[in-house]
Symmetry: C2
Subunit: 230 residues, 2 copies
DNA sequence: GGCCAATACTGTGCATGCAATTTCGTGAAT
DNA sequence: ATTCACGAAATTGCATGCACAGTATTGGCC
């Protein structure tokens, strides 16, 4: 078919990860090796290796002799993921304030400005994409791939649970305002302020999420951990 | 024979990891699947699964179709690991200052005091062990297993390269003094000071390491990345 | 004599098969 | 009716074997 440069194991790991992240495989789902092997047209061997890799990243849970399931995240664990992500994001902002090159700063400012347009037009899809790009800039701005990778990994991991964050009216403008504080601090080279502003921003996102969970809890029948309909 | 509760794959992963961390398997060593299988008396299958797990943690490097090697860490990458670890440790100290329970604070103070004794007696082995325990207290003090696990993992990963850190004369006392600043800030609930003090402490450790590397570089024949003889 | 190409070989990627354990279904006893 | 025990099916853990990519070696050519 195509480039077979990467092994089946790697392809499987990434495809299964995608299926989990986009909600096709819901948390708690059993990951039957035979089923996955049949589904992707391979034998169980690469499936097993892919599962072990995913288990190490925390995306799935591997229970010896009892099979694998998509990671169950309790409300408490999710809050800890959010807190950890917030701290890492704040650290990235701090280092970005200290380490970004002039070019990086210019691009950051430009992206931020363009997001203002999206807010004005209430373009949620564009804003969501730009938001991801903005945060990615802070990761890259650390000039520290280790930290960047850890933070991005954590963001991916909480991704399935923050899908609807920009749905609430006015949240786009609020998010943009918070970003403004972070961007100004970073561009101004104020590491402490950048840290504080980002921490504030992420904690607000967390609060918004918790409200979402709370409302979902009040409406039984819709699983709070399924962010996307099937 | 022995408790077979954990699978061979897990046992292998942990044994190979130990071998890497204690220097038996030097960075750059080829990890031949047949050899490892024979060495541990299993087939290649669990070896492969263990290798994939280790690759995800960053301990080894898995090059498709070209075999696995113990992770090569260049001087630059090592510095990034140190910086990332420092940031995470500082974050742990910050959260500890905010979240530690009275009991945890008492134990932290007690451990710190007992380390003063070890410094006075110049007991390097005891101090090294206590140092690990002290840092572990900060991880636990965050009350955030996600962050704690990430930080501990990073510390493990740089472990092989900081083995001789307490060798230099006077470093024990210096380390203890730095710890004092962190401990006081945490016990006093001053999150910002705790963060700053820990960051300072870790950056000094990093400097000490870089000096070590520099001196090792000047003495060719002794590999700077082999901390322990085979 | 050095460089490049063809070949043999080593080692990884993956499929398949078997054994052991877990789990599910059935039945009987309390 | 509920619970426990037993047995069957399903599923994981691991071993083995084969095919292909990568590597080393040898021979030929410039």
């Amino acid at each position: 078919m195509s480039d077979d440069r990467q092994t089946r194991t790697e392809k499987l790991a990434s495809e299964i990860a995608d299926a989990i992240l986009d909600g096709t495989l819901a948390p708690g789902s059993r990951l039957d090796e035979h089923m996955l092997a049949a589904r992707y047209g391979t034998s169980r061997t690469p499936v097993r290796e892919a599962l072990r890799q995913l288990a190490t990243t925390g995306l799935i849970e591997l229970r010896p002799r009892r099979g694998a399931i998509v990671a169950q995240v309790t409300s408490d664990e999710l809050e800890m993921l959010f807190v950890a992500m917030g701290e890492l994001e704040a650290t990235c902002a701090r280092l970005s304030a200290m380490s970004m090159t002039p070019i990086e700063r210019r691009r950051l400012g430009a992206l931020y400005d363009s997001m203002g347009e999206m807010v004005a037009q209430d373009d949620v899809p564009a804003y969501t994409a730009a938001n991801t790009a903005l945060h990615a800039m802070f990761y890259a701005g650390t000039h520290n791939p280790v930290l960047a990778e850890m933070t991005a990994g954590l963001r991916r991991r909480v991704g399935p649970f923050r899908r609807a964050q920009f749905r609430a009216p006015g949240r786009l403008a609020l998010s943009h305002a918070e970003h403004g504080a972070v961007v100004r601090a970073v561009l101004g080279g104020d590491a402490t302020a950048a840290h504080a502003a980002m921490l504030h921003h992420v904690s607000l996102v967390e609060d918004a999420f918790e409200q979402l969970v709370a409302t979902a809890m009040e409406a039984p029948g819709s699983s709070p951990h399924r962010a996307k309909a099937g």
